[in-house]
Amino acid sequence: MEIAIAIITGLMIIGALYAIHAKDLLSAVIACGIVGYGLVICFLLLKAPDLAIVQIVVETITLIIMVAVVLDSSREEKFSKPDPQGYVSMTLSALILGVMLYFFIISVSSLDEFGKSTLRMAGPYIEGATEKTGSANLVTGVVFDFRGYDTLGEATVLVTAVLGVLTILRIKGKK
């Protein structure tokens, strides 16, 4: 199981590298779709069908939005002159990589082995959840019942984002 997930994640890494280095922006967006749909397969292997359903819908909508933006433009990424700040940002990313590698090694040693995690917080959510929430799906029970106020906050964020998109697209820019 772990090997299968590692292989799919490797494919996602290849897709991500191609998306970052592609010359045509349309192929970059489609290579970003490789990463998203690979994530759907990973969710299915990790026994998370709710996440897989939501992710496949959201990924399709994201791709449609991105393709609509890219098709409206000239589509190619220009590499006109060598970037004087390029070396600075390469050095910066190498530095950040080192720092994050350090913290990752520390934190991954404190994690449980893959597949051997214990239910620390979710135990009370699973015990008698069907009687408490009336939902056979435990994820739905957590989202809409035990953590209902978080879901309300999420709805607020969604409304704010939709209002923001509408406002940004409707205003007339200064000429």
Partner: protein, 112 residues
Amino acid sequence: MIAYWMCFILFLVGLYGAITRRNLIKIAISLSIMEFSTFLFFALIGYIDGGVAPIVDPADPVKIYVDPLPQALVLTAIVIGLATTAMLMAVIIRIYRKYGTFDIREIKNLRG
């Protein structure tokens, strides 16, 4: 443990893209790659060997379920990720209509 490492490498690829690219679309793609790796990490943490999907079957109550709490968190985060990506794309399309380019260096040069 190798799954955690691959997930971390995916995050680093997204970070590398967000730092080094100069194209707004590429930066948005890199941000969503970092998002995806975080979702994958949460789903990896909650997995239990031999567990089944967290859907209760009354006929067979004695089962090991995978952890439903990270899945609920990621379910929220996926939808919010869509909202932020849509907002980012709206800003990018406004910038493109005003300046005619996605390149942040040229946008900086055009100022004033």
